[in-house]
């Protein structure tokens, strides 16, 4: 895709180049145009190389499309962004705009760090264009504290040839998943790979099992035990590697790419990488037990409460939600739109894998469990690790965890 460089864009690029050469001061003093330009600081955690072209184009687009705005972007590693926001809260150095993990809304919401966008969003009037889960993730205490940036959820990828040669059909229930995983396990190849690492990534992958079992965090003693013992059985039968307690979702995808796992649970952001695989793969909905369920992931745009340019920042957010801006950006990221009206645009209309993920979005559940979710998440992760490494039985781990979870859910 090409875009024309207008005079302002040219001047700005030239200006940036000059500044880099140490001429910035001299040039700025004779430029009258810069005086009314607002510089907005912007933080996100999209550090990987494959995100950069799309992000750079988006920022250039914003600087050209929104009058008198300049974006100063900083990136942090995924796990570092929350910490930087915490440190920023201490030092008073917070960005105007940030793209945060949707699960971070749990902790950020009660902190008074985010600007209330309720009135602006009402005036804008496009709230009903968004999928319910992502949109509700931005509503806290009757206020709108953000706009969904993109969404994702989990599904089951499988290696087509491996399933065919083993005579296995893509599983749709837990029983089928367990037997398929067992039949696909051979030599140094595991039937199934998933992430059970002791971070939110692992919990993101575990929660669907809890929901599929028919429960939720407030019934963890019962349904947590069901979910945990299902996974424990997979390990006991050798269909799932015990090492999954140390795997990130990236590691899981690497196992699948190296054909050392016949099936994997992962998100749509792996599709661009998987397209280069030299084998055929496909993707189906996560197998169900009592209920079908998957976990909602993705990011939200937020504006910080202390920003001096909330109006300008909102103008930027509104601009990014135009289909002409949003579609190429999300496509380049391999992410799904949070807007229903975009479901039939771009690659989402044609790519079958993306369509499958998109079809799961209405089922995808957000992790909205209040300000103490971090404690809950850690408790769930540790329970899962304790069971999968064989230190505790599933029911004992679920009992212990349930006590802590109930306490965290009750504390507001």
């Amino acid at each position: 895709m090409s875009y024309t460089v207008d005079r302002r864009g040219f001047l700005r690029t030239a200006g940036a180049g000059a500044a880099a050469l140490g001429l910035g001061g001299a040039l700025a003093s004779c430029s009258s145009e810069e005086s009314s330009t607002v510089t907005l600081t912007w933080w996100d955690y999209f550090t990987l190389d494959n995100f950069q072209p799309g992000m750079n184009r988006l920022i250039k687009d914003i600087e050209q499309g929104v009058p008198d705005v300049r974006i100063e972007r900083r990136t942090f590693p995924f796990a570092e962004l929350d910490r930087q926001i915490t440190l920023g809260a201490i030092s008073g150095d917070l960005p105007d705009i940030a793209i945060v993990d949707n699960v971070a809304m749990n902790t950020l919401a009660g902190s008074d760090l985010l600007a209330d966008l309720t009135d602006r969003v009402e005036e804008w009037g496009q709230a009903d264009q968004y999928y319910k889960g992502p949109w509700e993730g931005c509503q806290v205490g009757g206020k709108t504290l953000g706009i969904p940036n993109n969404s994702n959820c989990l599904a089951l990828y499988y290696n087509t040839r491996m399933l065919e040669s083993a005579g296995v059909r893509p599983p749709t229930t837990w029983d089928e998943l367990a037997s398929a995983a067992q039949r696909l396990t051979s030599g140094d190849r595991f039937g199934l790979a998933l992430s059970a690492i002791k971070t939110e990534e692992g919990v993101f992958q575990f929660l669907p099992f809890l929901w599929q079992a028919g429960g939720d965090l407030d019934t963890f003693a019962t349904y947590g035990a069901t979910a945990l013992s299902f996974l424990d059985d997979l390990i006991a039968k050798g269909s799932l590697s015990e090492q999954c307690v140390g795997w990130t979702q990236q590691d899981v995808n690497t196992r699948f790419l190296n054909q050392r796992a016949a099936m994997q649970i992962n998100g749509p952001w792996q599709i661009p990488t998987l397209k280069s695989a030299d084998f055929d793969w496909d993707v189906v909905a996560l197998p169900r037990d009592r209920a079908a369920a998957t976990c909602l992931g993705g990011e939200n745009w937020v504006v910080t409460a202390k920003s001096k340019h909330v109006d300008k920042a909102w103008e930027v957010l509104e601009y990014t939600q135009r289909p002409s801006v949003l579609v190429p950006y999300l496509v380049s990221f391999g992410e799904l739109p949070s807007r229903k009206d975009l479901a039939d645009e771009g690659t989402w209309a044609s790519d079958p894998a993306l369509r499958l993920f998109l079809s799961q979005l209405p089922l995808a559940r957000p992790r909205r469990y209040g300000p103490h979710y971090a404690d809950i998440s850690q408790t769930v992760a540790e329970a899962e690790q304790a069971v999968l490494t064989g230190s505790v039985s599933a029911s004992a781990a679920a009992q212990t965890a349930a006590v802590k979870i109930d306490k965290a859910l009750a504390a507001q």
Partner: protein, 306 residues
């Protein structure tokens, strides 16, 4: 007339002396005293995320400390920290000592090998941590490949994802990082021993083992104590290498005290309790530091070299 050294300096010189101390004092005040004070303040207040900016949060006395001390996870991490520190020190020191003895005698390539060993110490902990995570990986790790090559398959082991061996794996990496530091200081110490002592003992008929036990070891005592004290101060607060290798897991098998503080602070946003636990983390290195400084002063007074 010049003032004689050792007597009262002139007012001018004294002023100059204070002036020279100023940058150091300012640096310590800004980067050590202020954060320490702020941390102590936070540890007796109930601080929420929104209140970090511009202070605030009600005073709650010793409540934060009470919560921390009542938390079994805190004591678990204290035990892990002690095992981690003592395990690391024991091996770092003995291996470091053995290498120092080796490098104290001249042999070809001595200098080159010594500088190669130092690389381990110069590498950022994040790099060493990542390196060892690869080495110890059950499927593709070099250690397990080696074990499988020399013995039965059952020898290879999933070090870092098994709660009963994860701490050992992390200690192993930390030993590797710490050996060169120990070796270097101990080597300097060995060079201060007068070779004539060894020669005289050899003439009197003392064998190598006797010379080592009766001459080297006693004379190395002050250096050894210093090396161990410094090692204790550094090792007790190690964070990065553990964080990179296991993130404190599996479950809580490697959640040493520094990781506990990190989790309370940056994961659960319980700032008051994090600050309290942070101050408690300081106790062991601080006590060790005091012992170290007092020893140093005593030895300087006695005119001995450290």
């Amino acid at each position: 007339m010049r003032p004689r050294s050792g007597t009262q300096p002139s007012a001018h010189r004294r002023r100059a002396g204070y002036l020279f101390c100023l940058p150091g004092t300012a640096f310590l005040a800004l980067f050590l005293a202020y954060p320490l004070f702020y941390n102590a303040w936070t540890s007796v207040h109930d601080v929420k995320l929104g209140q970090l900016l511009g202070g605030g949060g009600p005073f709650n006395g010793l409540d934060n400390y009470r919560v921390v001390v009542d938390d079994p996870a805190f004591w678990h991490s204290v035990r892990l920290s002690l095992v981690f520190t003592l395990g690391s020190l024991a091996f770092q020191f003995t291996i470091g000592f053995a290498l120092a003895l080796l490098f104290a005698r001249p042999f070809p390539l001595n200098g080159l090998l010594r500088s190669l060993l130092l690389v381990a110490w110069l590498l950022p902990p994040v790099v060493s941590g990542t390196l060892f995570r690869w080495l110890l990986d059950a499927e593709s790790g070099a250690y397990n490949a080696l074990l499988r090559a020399v013995g039965p398959d059952s020898l290879s082991h999933d070090w870092l994802t098994d709660p009963s061996t994860a701490l050992a794996g992390v200690v192993l990496a930390n030993i590797w990082v710490g050996v060169p530091f120990n070796m270097l200081l101990l080597l300097v110490g060995l060079h201060t021993i007068d070779p004539e002592l060894h020669e005289a003992a050899a003439i009197d008929g003392a064998g190598p083992w006797q010379r080592f036990r009766r001459i080297t070891l006693p004379l190395m005592r002050p250096v050894s104590v210093t090396v161990l004290l410094l090692g204790l101060i550094y090792t007790f607060k190690v964070f990065d290498i553990v964080f990179v290798m296991t993130g404190g897991g599996p479950v809580d098998a490697t959640r040493v005290l520094s990781l506990y503080v990190y989790e309370v602070f940056f994961k659960f946003f319980r700032f008051g309790q994090g600050a309290a636990a942070g101050l408690l983390l300081l106790v062991v290195p601080l006590l060790t530091g005091v012992i170290y400084v007092r020893r140093l002063r005593r030895e300087e007074a006695a005119g001995g070299a450290v």
